[in-house]
């Protein structure tokens, strides 16, 4: 029944997090700061991983389709579908769970063990609202943008490396990525991203907020945040896929 205890405590924390702010302008400032920290701060890693993974997916697809019966534009089709359906929304979110999740848990955990959260509470400030709500809202705003960028960069990486390696011609690749394009796939990817953004930030914040002890426990909270966020992402990936694509 341990999970029930954690779920109950998580629910109460989230409920308290979204209470009316003491002063909207202060929360807005935090929200903008977090968009910069969580969103813009992740631009580099998302870009690098997306370009290289797009390139690898394209080459692997070309390698797998070495048959005269399969048209070469199928490389573009498969690269597009892998990137838009799974790589960008799920794998990139797993990477963001590692980067952003550990950052949130250690930041809030350190504030807990150094009594900074107690200081906020004694001032009469809703500490969970002030610390967690802007992070969740910033992630829900910025991560979908990062994922859309990741899709473009993945396809771009596949194009550059696929063409340079002679695996596919520019025409066939472009034809492939536009062939039978279903906008619903992007909707599906964005729905997943919104839910994963919420999971990453809220679960990490939960582990940081209830850190108890010292530096060692902050490290443990950080690890737990990444592990539980990743497991929940994978679990919800199956659930959302079943609901939206079945």
């Amino acid at each position: 029944m341990n999970w029930l205890y954690h779920f109950g405590r998580y629910y109460l924390l989230i409920k308290r997090t979204f209470k009316r702010p003491e002063k909207f302008s202060i929360y807005w400032k935090q929200y903008v700061l977090q968009m910069d920290s969580l969103g813009i701060g992740s631009l580099g890693i998302v870009s690098i991983i997306s370009i290289f993974m797009g390139a690898v997916i394209c080459i692997q697809s070309a390698f797998g389709f070495e048959s005269p019966w399969i048209p070469l534009y199928a490389v573009g089709v498969s690269t597009r579908d892998i990137i838009t359906l799974e790589f960008s929304p799920t794998v990139v979110c797993l990477i963001l769970a590692g980067k952003v999740g550990s950052n949130i848990a250690s930041e809030i955990g350190t504030m807990r063990v150094t009594e900074q959260i107690d200081a906020l509470e004694i001032m009469g400030i809703n500490s969970s609202g002030y610390l967690i709500a802007p992070k969740i809202l910033a992630a829900v705003t910025m991560f979908p943008l990062l994922i859309v960028l990741s899709m473009f960069l993945g396809l771009f990486g596949g194009y550059v490396v696929g063409v340079a390696a002679g695996a596919v011609t520019p025409y066939e690749y472009i034809y492939g990525i536009t062939y039978d394009f279903r906008p619903y796939n992007i909707v599906y990817a964005l729905v997943k991203t919104y839910i994963f953004s919420f999971i990453i930030t809220s679960v990490s914040a939960y582990h940081g907020y209830f850190t108890n002890g010292g530096a060692l426990e902050v490290g443990r909270s950080s690890t737990k945040a990444v592990v539980y966020s990743s497991i929940l992402i994978l679990l919800f990936n199956v659930i959302i896929t079943q609901i939206l694509l079945s």
């Binding site: 308290r16 209470k19 003491e22 150094t114 009594e115 509470e121 004694i122 001032m123 009469g124 400030i125």
Partner: protein
Amino acid sequence: MIQVQNLSKAFGEKQIIKDISIDFIKGKVNIIIGESGSGKTVLSKLMVGLMEPDSGKVIYDGNNFIGLNFDDKREIRKQIGMLFQGGALFDSMTVEQNIVFPLSMFTNMSEQEKTERANVCLNRVNLVNVNKLFPAELSGGMKKRVGIARAIAMNPKYLFCDEPNSGLDPKTSILIDNLIKEITEEFNMTTIVITHDMNSVIEIGDYINFIFKGELWWKGNSGEILKTDNKEINDFVYCSTFMKKVKENL
């Protein structure tokens, strides 16, 4: 004035606070002393609402704080300033931002007014030209002083100080003690100091409450604590060679 009435708190089977009742007097430095693990910190956390007691009342000028919801507690908390053991300054903010933070959250003061208020508070704790520094750039004593400046920024009626001298050299400790005493008298606050430091007890303690194994064991003033026959207090007060010599000369 703060009144604690029949306050009790247990963690599982272990009773940490046992039916404590104390009146903390306005305009005076009220000290809570006791050995490590005696329940001092838990008592202070119960009083400021960081923990919920199992039973009892904490009354701030006639208003019972226990059982209020967060929004109702906020009105009382706005009148509380607290100096934490480690300072608890916000790492991501400069000294000035730390001090103006509660003002930004709860008042409609202009930026200029907030800066002026920060400077007044910093001057009061004898700190100048530190506005733009971050907490990581301050010494232990400076952090405590910034902590005091932040605690008095909202003109609180009640000031809590948790181990204000821990980790400080004797000279800085006396400086912080004197500052707490002066501010208490100047702003007519109800000040509660939780400490182990007998220097503080003797220097600034108007009323002293000795907690032993979760109970209020003894109360009196700084003159009386040195002369009491109470065994537990004598074991606590005169445990060092220095204090034993003080006792011989009393």
